[in-house]
Symmetry: C3
Subunit: 350 residues, 3 copies
């Protein structure tokens, strides 16, 4: 189902240099694109990749216009990566249009649930009592909305998402398969060697335009609610503890763990596998590298890292062994400095 | 649905200083509590937080009785955190009473399964052949009990929990959505560059009063069973390999990974994101910090840590680069010490 | 359901030293085996464990034949661990034979789906339009095959596996509960402080004889497909980002995270909790230790490690504090070396 370059610029803008009737079979990365494909080059510093690609057409920034045009058709735009993002959305809509809304007869919808207009509910989904589903929302197969749970207009819950009792998801959100919203936070009081459960009486509130990856978990709050603000993007297999706040437009890569009551600002990025301990505060604009462990509040915006550099195993073994003596090495350095100092100033000694 | 302070102390004990008829709208943390709310202060060292809170009533330890009473109503008890835990249980029971038991007609229950009294089975749950569900247990929507699986009396499996063939869960356990008990352990024999599957013939046995967080996985044993003892608390997204033993009342925070055949004692705590390698033994009372990697057995109770301290990225880069030369630095220190020693004792040299 | 030693060697080969009529109740590890059990000893270096076991019969290598025979029945074979793996397969087939194929009437199978011969589909499974299921495949309860998804002959999807639209799984694969194949990759273009979604137009292609552990996620590609080659073994709770390639017969332990576009070779092993950053290349035969973070391409086969060694907390605190000054320590060593050098050669100074 090819589209024409002319159709693309008509829909998304940009300056087309080349024939509007040129067909595009596929959007493709530079390296694997063929003569029928459209690719993009996000920045002038990647100009070298232009020589190697066989893409039939390119989306390119103004700085590369001449070079791109010399090799074939191109669409010139100030921000090719953004243009590409919008193109993928347009492309998907065109190639895989959303099916007409319908509530599958195999779903279990409680009679007191409020279902909006143009809502799709998949087979074997369960919509609990007093739950609300906004207009145009889609609830995937096997998804479960607890009592009083709310899904905003236009949001998509893919297959088998759990949205716990009284938890809410805003508008235009996307929740991927296996997401669990509103399981109990991990709270226990120690008592005579055992753990006494603290029932988690809060809920989870998720803003608008939030995307949550497969098998990610966001626990309900102990008393207050856990909060995920507008525009947050969470990758797969992330754990968000109870009463965490994730500020607007913050993004976290896969396998991140955030412990209870951490307060993470807006416009942060957290790299894959990083851990944020509980009750800490991260300012707006904090960027944490992958696999780093945040053990203290980070109150200034900036880029923070803590990970052991990888090495060949034999070298690592030697350095790791030395590391366990690092504090002693420091003392030995101090002693050496003192010895040198003493040697230099013998006359000043009593 | 407010409750009265008098009702609370009648149910849970403690000394009420203030009007029994005072209403409580909500349990709330000190920071967000309002005039209608009840909050707690767990220890005298947090006395400073008492000044700032607007809570209408406080649960406080005896050491803070005078100060608490001076500001309003309070319940005095020796262990306010424990009192609070019990209060959340009482509160939940009162505000969200368990629904009458019923087996949903949309569930698939095998005719040979044995279902106890007062059991609830949710829509689309699957109870396999010879499976057993104890009195008062609740099996959530989309949960699957394999052939011969057993759930003890009073246990709760939330939505879409998998309990594999022949695996068992004790009494009063809580399993959150997405938990997978009894998937195959990761066992293969290498053969000519390929991996030959070792069928996992053991099962998983879980004791009483165990709680298991969302999307956590516990693999079945290779030959013997994987064991989770009484009172263990596991947070979300934890991986427990085959033939692991987790001793009684041990707690693990989110994203922990425990490799096969690790033997973890009782009353341990494992911080979030920590990794325990296989075939190791942790004594009773071992506490592992978050994100630490246990690479050797820890046979003495105590607190163990291994994580790279986080720093601003520029500082980290310098220190990480130096770290790769640490063993050489150690040798250079040794050489310096030798040089100083030689300089000090020139006459003793041949 | 005991079997006889004679039946085992008839089926699997090896040299039986002992009575073919001796019954085996159970396959068991050396430590817990009893008089009715069959155990194995994989290598001559474990000869010491032979003295302690009470196993009624042993699988042993030729080097231990005399010692094994002296204590009782044994099966001698060149590779006892491989023999044991095949024995578990034979054992399982004998004790838990696969049930006759049938499509459960409670499944939802789209009329345009193509279902092969001898296919089993569990209750509440959903097979989408144009999906294909090969001969002898088994689709577990609550599993969902999207539009155009394909499952090869003989593959097993356990309960609640998600296979996204247009994604494919080869032959003889095993996917454990909670696996999510083909959720959207994590791709966004930044724009004025917000994230613009890049629709993920690729799919996931999985080869033959692949095993994927519980709750593991493999994202669909942005434009090209994510690729998992033949014979790959993935443990539980692993995250594979979009456009990753995992080469044939590579194995990853639990909780590994692989970021987008990483290209991992064949016959690699990745330890539990390790992280591989995006756009890196790992050569064939690279072995990464548990919890290590791969931050650069590893173009030579070998064993690589990077993790902070665990220590008692007090020692760790001192060493971690020193670590933050490591670069300064290095400079102090350099200064000391210079001072010593200067002291040695005073006459050469101006």
């Amino acid at each position: 189902m090819a589209v024409l370059l002319g159709d693309i610029v008509q829909a998304l803008g940009g300056t087309l240099l080349g024939p509007p009737s040129q067909a595009v079979q596929r959007l493709a990365p530079l390296a694997s694109a063929g003569a029928g494909d459209l690719s993009f080059i996000s920045h002038a510093r990647y100009a070298g990749q232009m020589d190697a690609t066989r893409a039939g057409a390119l989306i390119a920034p103004p700085a590369l216009q001449v070079a791109a045009q010399a090799r074939g058709a191109c669409i010139v735009t100030d921000d090719p990566y953004l243009y590409f993002a919008r193109l993928t959305q347009w492309w998907k809509q065109r190639h895989a249009p959303v099916q007409p809304a319908h509530v599958d007869p195999l779903a279990s919808v409680h009679p007191t649930a409020r279902i909006g207009l143009d809502v799709t509910v998949g087979p074997f989904a369960v919509i609990g009592p007093q739950a609300e589903v906004g207009d145009g929302a889609r609830i995937g197969a096997h998804s479960v909305l607890g009592a009083g749970a709310r899904v905003g207009a236009g949001s998509v819950l893919h297959a088998r998402v759990s949205l716990g009792d009284a938890c809410s998801v805003g508008e235009r959100c996307i929740l991927h398969p296996g997401v669990v919203i509103g399981a109990d936070g991990f709270g226990f009081a120690p008592h005579e060697g055992e753990w006494i459960k603290i029932e988690q009486l809060g809920a989870v509130r998720i803003g608008n335009d939030v995307e949550i990856g497969a098998n990610t978990c966001i626990d309900r709050g102990a008393m207050d609610d856990t909060l995920i603000e507008d525009g947050v993007k969470l990758d797969n297999l992330i754990q968000i503890g109870h009463n965490v706040r994730v500020g607007a437009h913050t993004a976290m890569a896969g396998c991140v763990g955030v412990a209870g009551s951490a307060d993470i600002g807006a416009h942060c990025t957290i790299g894959g596998g990083a851990v944020v301990l509980g009750h800490l505060r991260l300012a707006d604009g904090v960027h944490v590298s992958a696999a780093s462990v945040v053990t203290r509040s980070l109150l200034k915006p900036g880029h923070y890292t803590g990970m052991f550099p990888i090495d060949d195993n034999a070298a690592w073994e030697k350095n790791a062994a030395s590391l366990k003596q690092l504090n002693r090495l420091r003392e030995r350095i101090k002693a050496l400095e003192q010895a040198i100092e003493n040697a230099r100033t013998p006359s000043s000694k009593p």
